[in-house]
Amino acid sequence: MKCDLPIELLSGYLDGELDDKQKAQVEDHLKECSTCQEELKALRQIDNDVKDEVFEEPSREFVFTLNRRVMDKIRVPARRSLFRFAPVFAPVAAAFLILIVLINISPSTKVAQIDDRMVYQELVQRQEVLVSIPEPRIARAPASMKRTARVGKDKAAAVQTEETRVAEADETYDIAELEVMTLPGEGVVRAIIDSTGMVIKVATGNTRIPEKDTMLENRLSGQQLAPPLIAGRKKQVYVDFAATDEKDD
């Protein structure tokens, strides 16, 4: 008998995907066609073989680490979402942080800096003030330090040491005890004396901005002088000590 059944119908019959009319057509044909019966049997066997087919087992890495790998990747976007606007905010945040750092490392009120004298100059130019600088007993020094206070451009005018010397001057150390006599004769010692009279910064040299002299500063800083007074109030001052010969006085 000549077989005219399309293979699609036989395959569809095997899968149970035919409509009633097609199904009846195939079943009628199968009753008479041994070739198609054999073909159907062979196709069914192929399907069973495919179902039983061994396939390459997944790796141990896959079996044991897939969960973690997937979870790591799906957790990341949640964390990243916080930084979604990072390209915009990161530079701003960085600038803000730098600003905070700069503020924190800026000079505290405790430590006087070279620019502090500007405040002092400004104050003096506006009014007559009495400036009291602790008076070291320079007379005993072979090459004594003549102290002058910088008051605007006129060094001498505002220095009225003798009149305004205060009781605290009794606590003043002798300049000899400060051991500054070893300084070069033409040098200038500049010091910052805080409002309590303590020497907190020392520098040497002839330039407008003297060089830091660590050795001298180590020797002098912390020494207690009488508190400097400006207009009757204790103030931190910037002072030049000029080294001069005693005979010039």
Partner: protein, 186 residues
Amino acid sequence: MYNNIESDEALLKSVKEGDCEAFNPLIERYKLPLYKVMYRMTLNRDDAEDLVEEAFIKAYRGIDKFELGRPFYSWLRRIAVNNAINFIKKERRSRIESFEAVESRIRDDKHNPVTMTKQKMLRERIGLAMAKLPKDSRIIISLKVEQDLSYDQISTLLKIPRGTVMSRLARARQRLKQIVKEMEMH
């Protein structure tokens, strides 16, 4: 912590509400079935494993589109198969490499007949025959026979008409039977 007792529905509800940890048991539950589908499509273990991983990640990222109440595995598998089809289009070498790998494995086993039972030989032969099938035929047989999808589901998944599914599947079966027969003769 979630465990494997929780239903897909409960886990997916938690995932949709933003708890990504609830996705973990779903990975555990479906990674091996999905691997099998991916392996059948690529015939390459490494590719199949990578595709499974990608499928889970894509599924998670598209979880908003998943409708609770529908079967999760079918949805996941559709994502995986679509992804694999795109992968195979780009990576045409994989079929040839895998075919050689399967063939070499069978050749090695033939040298060791003690360990090679008849049943195992038959199954290996089917594996090799599947590897020799054109890519489209292999995928459609895998989806119908191994995954037991309906013609309509395959039609949707592969974006081809139902009639094409029917004819392509019939031809694929014929071809597979023919390859197996040829192998038996040699």
